[in-house]
Subunit: 432 residues, 2 copies
Amino acid sequence: MNTKRAPTPKSPTAGDYLIASKSCELMNLQYFLQMGKLVQCLSNLVHALQCERGASNVFLGSSGDKFARERQALVTESDRLRGEFEQSLAEIHQELTAHPVSSRLLNQLASALHGLEGLPELRRCVSGQKVTAASATEDYSGLIHNLIAVVFEAADTAVDPTIAGLLVAMVHLMNGKEFCGQERAVGSAGFSSGQFDRALSQRMMHLIEAQERCFEVFTSFADRDSLKLWQTLRGHAREAGIEKLRQLGTSSVGRYKSLDPSLADRWFTVMSERMDELKQVEDSVEGCFHARCIERFADARNSLAHQETLIASLDAPEPSSHPMLVLCDSGNERKAGETWASDGVGQQFGRSIFDLVQEQTCRLQQMTDELRSARDALEDRKTQEKAVLLLMDHRKISNDEAHRVLRKLAMDQGKKLPEVARALVSMADLLK
Amino acid sequence: MNTKRAPTPKSPTAGDYLIASKSCELMNLQYFLQMGKLVQCLSNLVHALQCERGASNVFLGSSGDKFARERQALVTESDRLRGEFEQSLAEIHQELTAHPVSSRLLNQLASALHGLEGLPELRRCVSGQKVTAASATEDYSGLIHNLIAVVFEAADTAVDPTIAGLLVAMVHLMNGKEFCGQERAVGSAGFSSGQFDRALSQRMMHLIEAQERCFEVFTSFADRDSLKLWQTLRGHAREAGIEKLRQLGTSSVGRYKSLDPSLADRWFTVMSERMDELKQVEDSVEGCFHARCIERFADARNSLAHQETLIASLDAPEPSSHPMLVLCDSGNERKAGETWASDGVGQQFGRSIFDLVQEQTCRLQQMTDELRSARDALEDRKTQEKAVLLLMDHRKISNDEAHRVLRKLAMDQGKKLPEVARALVSMADLLK
């Protein structure tokens, strides 16, 4: 494919670099086309591990009575999808390691793979009922977290705003779904024991709120089709049922009155259905991502081919006898393209190559501007994580409590959560 | 060199990706080692063009009486340095075009080269005295602006905070020096005509203020040695002389009373000396940049070699029989490394590889945090440029006037300039 140009040993021209700039975009799109496969594999593997976690939970909670066979089937499925993930990783390995700004992504992959290496031992512990359901849930959650974080880091390296936006939608959807999975586990623990203690209730509330925040970000970055699927999911009768069960879990009713243990099965079933549907929304986002990559790639390739032809035709008629007069009204503090746009001089000669460079300047600037909101969403998420860790560390409180403190702070000050988190993190830097 | 690993066709391990993450950093450092040469060449070429512009100005201002021979010598020197720049560009071409996130840098290079292609025609116009001094100054300034913008874009792709910081220092120093060069031209026009009209005075004030703002950013990112050189420059007796001449140019004295035309020579001499010294500060920053790149590169290479040995030794004793237990307290909303840091379980096995991944996570996060201030400085600069263009466009005013409006806004609101510029740009987005 014609995405790379042979090195120009002498006097590279403006046209060469204009082409190189376009080729660079093309390379990046190709990279994300492959990245899409990896994200799909991650989404599949995460879903399988969530199913496996759920079954392991029930298995452990029932002292091995329930789901023994189901769990085994799910383990086999997880392993199959883990194989697919590792295969797609091997396929993109060259591009990944040649990408000079992906150290964080690569290190996150190391974390994720490190986690997966511990999976057989975790399963042995579950099979032998040597761990509690709560502890197994935590282990699976850590593993899943590290897999989702790979998508986060991938989103952070995207240059095309559409692609970055869809990855931001994806990572928030995956995170929301994971909180949903953790909520399923917490609810299962409560309903099967017939009671929610204060800590369990609060954890459930935290997970519900965390989910909603993720889904909010998802809806502001998702494509139309995925949004429709999402709205269908939200409009489903099941959601009202979930709401009722949630109220039992988070209100004092569930704390002081013993609940019907048969609710546990109902809870597990509806939440599992919900997660399966969320997975379908993920697949839709992934499908859109793939289509968009292909579309953008085709556009970029056409545009590159077109420009190569144009530049070749410009170069042809005695380039040195038609020099371009470089004029601009002030030069200082202006972008190249914009300076030229307002300039009426020097149009006779070389206007075309200039036009092309200018067009590319404007396009790249617009892309950078549009990229901002996607980057901000990722940044907000990181800042909140950092604020939570700071609070946990300073006040010696749990993750849930730290989230609560942060939310209370935001409510009290009438500010948005990311804003409060930012203020906290910046103050902490000052106090160091 | 051992910066790339052969593709792993099957089951890549955590260790592989940890190594890849380190190699990636190494690649990036190597890229900036070469980028340093390009920046040096740009700094040299810009200085030569500034000298050529100054001489052309005097030549045109004296109707060809003065500096005819000097100007020719400076043209030859510019061409020599242009050759060096293009040579260093050819050397880094492969790396530049293989870097998937440098479309903006590549396009800026296209702009810069496009500008240089017009240089022979511009010189012919100067030789034939077919342009005014003011118009020639503008043409040279546009060209120089496009060359400096290449350094700006290079700074924007840096990942290592030290390297990014030094490039931010460099680009602001270069910009400040360029404003100084434009101030020399404006002053020369005023002093040689014996009078500063209102527009000339205001332009001079704008250029003085713009310089100071650039130098402020420079001082907050420069290395110690360059800062010392800078302070020596500021402490030089010449500066007081420049200050006096500036007062003549910017106060009403120079507007209503005819000034001694011999001041023009004095002005040109002291300002040229100042620019030569600023060039020395640039060389110092460049030297530090080069040394830092080499140092960081050696560190990274050693660390990589060390880790490769470590990981090989970890892999050796039956890796499958020592699986790692993946445990963490909650998983959600936490960075991999930090989750593990607070976790006392699963330490017996695989602690070492985990430690390595965690160490890398923390280091990369710290680098990202430290990178923030450098990126913010670049961002501020872009936002101000955008705000100025917005004002020019909406109010149909000149670049200088737009700067004045922005500064007045900041003063009136008691806010910093970047803050006001940001507010303006965000409002403009709303009004679109």
